[in-house]
Symmetry: C2
Subunit: 341 residues, 2 copies
């Protein structure tokens, strides 16, 4: 059985589902601070059985000790954490407390319980302002420009120290590029509880009429069309990367770092054009100045993950956008039904 912290959230729920459809057991720990209990029901519907679910916080050492004692957990996927860049700038202590403090407490509890296999949700943001693309795992980590990114880098450094201190640890640091999309069923996807920070959730809210226009930050980057280029990856591909990492870590010791990206960059305008084609909806745009801290381009070299995990992203940009749009339309329907009742 694996424990997934933050398993009701966007990434965690997809990891839970993919692990369960393999016939494996999952225990989800989530404090629902940025997710919904309904995700557990939806995972159950799609998997044909219920995951274990514990409502609680990863910083609660006593709770972790109890879970690790009462359930036959042999690995942990640590997705729990705060992830809004703008919020992290305003409330950095909450980010360090939750993300770094949570990781420290989790590792302490795991070590005490004798569970040493851990997969961690890291981010390409740890590469900082690295400008040589594509980025591979040997690139030095930089100085992330916001507390969210800094907290992810700190978590990685905590885990590297932990692995150096005891040879029993097997830790996979998964550096996510830009996860988007949703489950093909339309039942699982990203459900931001506040103003979205990232292109896709914002674009979806414009497409569905919740917002008037999409802000595009910067038209003067040194890219083919002047807008920023990112490596978007389907959340199901990302989840499958976690499954492969969990399996690979059975045979590995110490810390392994793997990029989870497609290896292909798309500009903001590429994404908008593809979305308009897939959805048939026109997206009104507002071009604005660059945002401080944003870089021009960022895409992965996924070769190490291909070689070591036998994993490669398979979904196209169009599939990511079609799945995201299906999810968004489903959400709207639920909303309408809820309001009608």
């Amino acid at each position: 059985m694996i424990l997934i912290t933050g398993g009701a959230g966007y990434i965690g729920a997809h990891v839970a589902l993919e692990w369960m459809v393999r016939g494996e057991e999952v225990l989800i720990l989530d404090n629902l601070c940025n997710s919904h209990r309904s995700a557990i029901d939806r995972i159950s519907t799609l998997a044909g059985k219920r995951p274990g679910f514990i409502y609680g916080d990863v910083r609660n050492r006593r709770l972790l000790d109890t879970l690790l004692r009462d359930y036959p957990i042999d690995a942990v996927v640590h997705c729990a954490g705060l992830k809004a860049v703008g919020e992290s700038v305003r409330e950095p202590l909450r980010y360090y407390d939750t993300n770094v403090g949570g990781s420290v407490v989790l590792c302490q509890a795991m070590a005490q319980a004798g569970v040493f296999r851990l997969v961690f949700s890291s981010s390409a943001t740890v590469y900082g302002d690295c400008t040589r693309m594509p980025i591979n795992e040997a690139c030095a980590t930089g100085q992330p420009t916001n507390p969210y990114g800094m907290s992810k880098l700190m978590c990685e450094n905590v885990m590297k120290s932990v692995a150096s201190s005891d040879p029993r640890w097997s830790i996979g640091l998964l550096r996510y590029f830009n996860p988007i999309g949703a489950h093909a069923s339309g039942l699982l996807g990203e459900a931001p509880t506040s103003t979205p920070n990232n292109l896709l959730p914002y674009l979806l809210q414009v497409a569905s009429g919740e917002r008037q226009a999409l802000s595009v930050y910067g038209q003067d980057y040194p890219t083919p069309d002047g807008t920023g280029v990112r490596d978007y990856i389907h959340v199901v591909d990302l989840a499958l990367g976690h499954i492969r990492a969990l399996e690979a870590l059975r045979e590995r010791r110490g810390v392994s770092i793997w990029n989870l990206g497609t290896g292909r960059g798309y500009s903001v305008l590429d994404v908008i054009n593809a979305f308009e084609k897939v959805s048939g909806v026109r997206i009104p745009l507002n071009f604005e100045a660059r945002r401080p801290g944003d870089i021009a381009c960022c895409w992965a070299d996924p070769q190490k993950s291909i070689d070591e995990l036998g994993w490669q992203a398979r979904y196209s940009l169009e599939q990511m956008l079609a799945d995201a749009w299906r999810w968004q339309c489903n959400q709207r329907e639920h909303e309408v039904v809820r309001q009608a009742n």
Copy 2:
């Protein structure tokens, strides 16, 4: 009144004393995990009045809230933390929990109480493997080679984020070089509770017969005599740097970084020769291989502290060693008296 966390420890006790001899009030918070309650008595003896003392842990949020409510604290000197490099490699989680977690909790409590002036015990170790000497504060921080150093860098980054999030903060990051020496009275000094990591406490234990010989790690560094060169600073000079920083921060906002070093480097053999001259005791040596992670040279450029704090180290190496030796001999006498009773 200022709050000094870790105020019963080596650095904190000297800061407390120097602040009190100016007629100011001090409240000490210490969990005595690497210090002795007797330090409070000795500060009282030297200052002519008792500092406030609370036995407790800086990670205890409820305790901090109470202190900050019940005492008229207008600034905090945060010295509490673990500092043994070797131990940090073996028990990294304890270091991250205590040092980083402690800083996060302290900043949270201070913000809530409306106390925004903070002086932090950082370390030149945050410069990592910087090789251009002398080091000034504009040098990039590096990748410290052990969890102790990493935890100090994380604390600095937490505090930088905090200062960016709220313009009311005034934070001084004091990057210590190599504090040695003791109070001239022989009543306050470093009292390691386990095997010392650093040259001076080890040398003192050899001089006083507690250990047979002093290990010198590396004779083949690119330095005048082949042994490592460091910037040793008298702990009283260091404490005075804190006093000046506390005062300067009244007029500053945001984060200020100041090196606390003399600007002069001495080799291991320089220190041993000077000690033998000062004490009249011969130190048997064992030359050993370099220790992994040690660098050849490290000394400060103290110009920024001179310019902005009006502070400069004044004690010579001979004075540092004479004071350290007096402290060590006093300790021994107390030990003999204690055993005789």
